[in-house]
Assembly symmetry: C2
Homo-oligomer: 262 residues x 2
């Protein structure tokens, strides 16, 4: 386990929430030498489990959350975050949330010192993930806390960026295209293949190479396929094959046009 320096302004941290993000973030901070003091969760089993893993106390009562720490991390889903904030008064204790689309201002009634640490990754509780190469988007409502949150984040990850609430929303929108919509393209491919007894796994090397290329030479330069070649024979044949799937053929047309226009 690493040791903190005395110069680190943030040494003690509590968590509100014991879900996927809270669990992975608390464990990574604990491993880097931060003292995790308290874990709150509505669900006692979750609070106990995480508190044992990071040598913290636990509580299931919002009223028992102690503000006697350097930082409180609220890591619950968007809906719960909006529900929970009116009942929280953490005075002057630096308080951050970890969400992608909720603005920092959601915490304005909770504390006078607020911020965000948004890790750009999807988490599962059971699968431990290292934060080392994980982009962390950091925001705060004052310069001193921003500096401290940035240096805490740099102890966890080599990819730390200062990002405003507006920029964070942009990242979230971009992620919907890059992740959620890419995933749906694979779902459509899967449906097309399965109907002819073929497996999606056939495409795995090709998809992985496409993604690697996109991040290496930019997706615009890496674009291949009938649309960018303006190969109308192939495009028309594909659209004919999709006649029974108006959803898919509509998407095929729209994206092909967009590839030709971008």
């Amino acid at each position: 386990m690493n040791k903190l320096k005395n110069s680190d302004s943030i040494q003690t941290i509590s968590f509100i929430g014991a879900g996927n993000v809270a669990t992975q973030m608390a464990k990574n901070l604990y491993q880097k030498g931060f003292k995790i003091k308290q874990i709150y969760s509505r669900t006692e089993a979750s609070a106990v489990l995480l508190s044992q893993q990071v040598e913290a106390n636990f509580t299931t009562s919002l009223k028992e959350i102690s503000s006697d720490v350097n930082l409180i991390v609220i890591s619950v889903n968007d809906k719960a975050l909006i529900e929970i904030t009116p009942s929280l008064d953490l005075g002057q204790t630096l308080t951050v949330h970890t969400g992608g689309s909720i603005p920092m201002s959601q915490l304005e009634g909770v504390s006078s010192r607020i911020g965000v640490i948004y890790p750009l990754q999807t988490f599962t509780k059971s699968h431990d993930i290292s934060f080392e190469k994980l982009p962390l988007c950091v925001e705060a409502n004052n310069e001193k806390d921003l500096k401290d949150l940035l240096s805490l984040s740099k102890r966890l990850s080599t990819k730390v960026a200062s990002v405003s609430s507006k920029q964070r929303k942009t990242i979230h929108l971009a992620a919907v295209f890059a992740c959620n919509f890419s995933n749906h393209m694979l779902a459509i491919a899967d449906e097309i293949l399965t109907k002819e007894d073929l497996e999606l796994g056939l495409l795995q090397p090709l998809v992985e190479e496409t993604i690697t290329k996109a991040f290496t030479i930019t997706p615009k330069k890496g674009q291949s396929g009938p649309a960018i070649r303006r190969d109308d024979n192939v495009i028309n044949e594909h659209l004919k094959r999709l006649e029974k799937h108006p959803d898919f053929s509509d998407i095929y047309k729209k994206i092909s046009n967009s590839i030709q226009n971008i």
Copy 2:
């Protein structure tokens, strides 16, 4: 270098084409112990370069292509394949092409024994790629040659499948969604981010995790984001942000609907 067994029906191979696929396939076959006899390319420099790498002869004249081998691999782009086939007469020599969307029947005038070996990957000449985990889709117009092409392919790769021309077209259509269209989702994300001085690289870990998850638990089960959660607040906010990009907002709507319907 490996050695072939006497029982291997295919021992000697020539290539028509010296592009990306031809280069990588010839080098992989050469390394597995096959004798590469002749390389044809219109471009002398390409023919020479590849012939030197696999200890073969070369020619730039279609008339000089010798049919005295066990297999001829035609590996040129779709357009060239259609142009070149009327001038080829390879008698009874087993002849395959390596394309994704051209049916095997394109070779019917070229030889009486025809087939396809379609490697599901994108290639670059300069970057050597191992065929070991690369799906190879194999087809032939008779059982004996199918068996021989399958065993040749199994010497190159652990992922060999017997695939009809119709199935191959299906794979090609699915690949347009899984690769070309996924790549365009990244291109849109890139454009959205760049406008606010943010880098696409921020999303790399998230995209990689999305893809890994899709191939592990299926893309349908791995789907996340506002569409599948039917989170209309976020969806409407995103559509508002995209107002100046009718292309992107149209795609956003269509794909979100499709995610909810699939």
